[in-house]
């Protein structure tokens, strides 16, 4: 009951100088909103990059252990045999939605007059493009289909198409090394021109059917297998579940292979962590300043309460509650502002310019995370409470006679 009374008195004290309290709450709210909007932008970026990475590789990548750890001496040295059997084993698990083979190859691609380096991938011509979603854009022509092996057809990156001056329907030749180390060449037809959004990749990108790639390398192996799950959250559990079913094969998660995602996350964590730290310091300064003014104004009242037998600790706690109330109000208001901004951006359809190394921009969204909002609210309230308590601790030690004589 006593605690409730102290809280009640403290809350009423915050309303004594409404203009100052409003300014404190507003500044705290702006700080909290900045943390939540900045953090929400980072979260949205993380989510997008997670999706891009997982859609590119699969939630789990299955390959031989050497494929992950060593460099091959000849193409497909560390490839997986009997992919069909492996696919059946993996699809028997209800968490697994797609099992997609990947055959990585490199070599030259030529239009007859000009040959350039290519980095290719043989894929499942149907399922591959449904899992890639928005992270592979068809610029012209058509995607691969079940008949693509007959053409045989390829998709090539937009920059590569520009370099070779080709368009859908054009004929090209792929040159590569077979698994035996011999040179091999096959004639292909351009079915479509695609963009990954990264010009450096689009300059070398070739996608073809698995059968075409296997024909070029003269192999029936695949380099690796992408396992797509019903839910990204199941990645770790499914990896553990699949391990005994895979024999000598190894697995990696999408995150272990997502070097760009990890680099961006490391960078953003530092940037937004630093921003949060600076804003936290500003909140401390704002609340400490407001409380210092309030305490100076109430010096005589502090003296009166001390004379009546209120302990310094009780007064410090009362001021700390005031600080926490101001911080919590600012934190709540900030969360509402951030939530509003998050919703407004969904409808505003604002585009960000392309990031460095990319050719396309992306929509500006800010994720609203209830967890981040709660952590921010708790942190801002705690910081405000501590700063108020520190200021009050100095003030309540003033001699009572001096405090009573304060004008």
């Amino acid at each position: 009951m006593n605690a409730l009374k102290w809280i009640g008195f403290a809350l009423r004290n915050t309303l004594r100088n409404r203009r100052r309290s409003l300014a404190t709450v507003t500044l705290t709210a702006l700080g909290s909103a900045a943390i939540l909007i900045g953090g929400g932008f980072a979260l949205y970026t993380y989510e997008s990059l997670q999706q891009a990475a997982a859609r590119d590789t699969g939630h789990l990548i299955v390959a031989t252990k050497d494929f992950f750890d060593r460099e091959e001496d000849t193409p497909m040295q560390f490839g997986i045999e009997h992919f069909d059997k492996l696919r059946d084993t993996l699809l028997a698990n209800r968490e697994v939605r797609y099992v997609l083979p990947r055959l990585n190859f490199s070599g030259l691609i030529s239009n007859g007059d000009k040959s350039v380096v290519m980095i290719g991938s043989g894929v499942d011509p149907q399922a591959e493009f449904s899992v890639r979603g928005p992270f592979l854009t068809l610029k012209s022509g058509q995607l691969l289909n079940e008949d693509s092996a007959k053409g045989p057809d390829v998709l090539i990156g937009a920059e590569l198409a520009k370099s070779l001056k080709v368009e859908p329907g054009s004929a090209l030749t792929l040159l590569g090394s077979t698994t035996a180390g011999a040179l091999n060449a096959i004639d292909v037809k351009v079915r479509g021109i695609v963009s990954s959004g990264v010009p450096d990749i689009d300059k070398r990108l070739v996608l073809t059917s698995l059968a075409t790639a296997q024909g070029l390398l003269v192999t029936d192996k695949v380099s690796s297998v992408g396992v797509y799950l019903a839910d990204m959250e199941l990645t770790a559990a499914t990896r553990a579940k699949l391990a005994p079913q895979l024999g000598a094969l190894a697995t990696r998660t999408w995150e272990e292979e997502a070097f760009f995602y990890k680099a961006v996350r490391g960078l953003y964590d530092r940037i937004f962590g630093g921003l949060g730290l600076v804003i936290g310091l500003i909140v401390v300064g704002v609340v400490a300043g407001a409380m210092a003014m309030a305490i100076v104004e109430r010096t005589r009242e502090i003296g009166t309460l001390r004379a009546m037998g209120t302990s310094p600790g009780q007064l410090v706690r009362a001021f700390a509650i005031e600080g926490a109330a101001l911080g919590a109000s600012g934190g709540l208001l900030g969360a509402l502002v951030a939530g509003g901004v998050s919703i407004a951006l969904v409808f505003a359809n604002l585009q960000m310019p392309p990031p460095p190394g990319r050719s396309v921009g992306y929509p500006l969204y800010v994720s609203f995370s209830p967890e981040l909002a709660l952590i921010t609210l708790a942190a801002v309230s705690l910081l405000a409470m501590i700063s108020a308590a520190v200021v009050a601790r100095i003030a309540v030690k003033k001699p009572i006679v001096e405090a009573l004589g304060h004008v």
Binding site: M1, N2, K5, F9, R12, N13, L15, R16, R300, E301, G303, T304, L305, R306, A307, M308, G309, T310, S311, Q314, P399, I400, V401, L404
Partner: protein, 230 residues
């Protein structure tokens, strides 16, 4: 700590209490070897010109300041060696204060201001409510319980301050110029209330005042000049 007090023992027993302040390089004697005794239910006025040491004596008696030398027994408790926590506890339990400027807490209602000392003492809400209602009735402010101090006149505020000081029935009431900010009619009312409540509860009163009407109602008058009791 022995807070029990024999009926005939003084509530305030000061012996040779002195206090000096340093003003720059000069040491000013604010109170010199004061011997003061105030018994249960006794009203003692402290008079003297400004700077004579009235406030210093009141502050030491109210345990909000310490003496440089001498002994002070409050309700049988030797106070000289008490640490700040024990002095705070003794003020909370045994002393009520009335200030010249009322010093009510503006965010609290009249009833909450009066209840505050009981709240500090940890008295239950139901008992506190009863005692507050009874005290407000005694000072004629029962109908103002829910008002804020800034909605009251000066006389009403001082009556709230009296109720706040006396609601816990302290051993000692310290009043610093309680009628200085009041008109003569209101001052008479306030004096009557203080006198009545203190006599009823057996509270010893030490009142600093320039008001001749107030000294006329006191049992004894102590005159101070240049820090020395005359």
């Amino acid at each position: 700590m022995n807070t029990a007090l024999r009926d005939n023992a003084p509530v305030v027993a000061m012996r040779g209490v002195s206090k000096s302040y340093r003003l720059g390089a000069v040491l000013v004697s604010a109170l010199h070897a004061a011997d003061v005794a105030v018994s249960r239910g006794e009203m003692v006025a402290l008079t003297g010109p400004s700077g004579s040491g009235k406030s210093t004596l009141l502050h030491i008696a109210g345990l909000i300041d310490t003496a440089d030398s001498g002994n002070y027994l409050l309700a049988g408790t030797a106070t000289t060696q008490l640490d700040e926590a024990r002095r705070t506890q003794l003020r909370r339990n045994a002393i009520g204060f009335i200030f010249q400027s009322f010093n009510l807490v503006p965010v609290m209602t009249v009833a909450e201001n009066v209840e505050y000392p009981l709240f500090l003492d940890g008295i239950s809400s139901s008992e506190a409510r009863e005692r507050v209602a009874a005290m407000l009735a005694r000072v004629g402010l029962a109908d103002r319980a829910k008002h804020r101090p800034d909605e009251l006149s000066g006389g009403q505020r001082q009556r709230v301050a009296i109720a706040r000081a006396l609601v816990k029935q302290p051993r000692l009431l310290i009043a610093d110029e309680p009628t200085a900010n009041l008109d003569s009619h209101t001052a008479d009312e306030v004096i009557a209330v203080i006198r009545e409540l203190c006599h009823e509860a057996g509270t010893a009163c030490l009142i600093a005042t320039h008001d001749a009407r107030l000294t006329a109602h006191c049992d004894r008058v102590l005159a101070l000049r240049d820090g020395v009791l005359q």
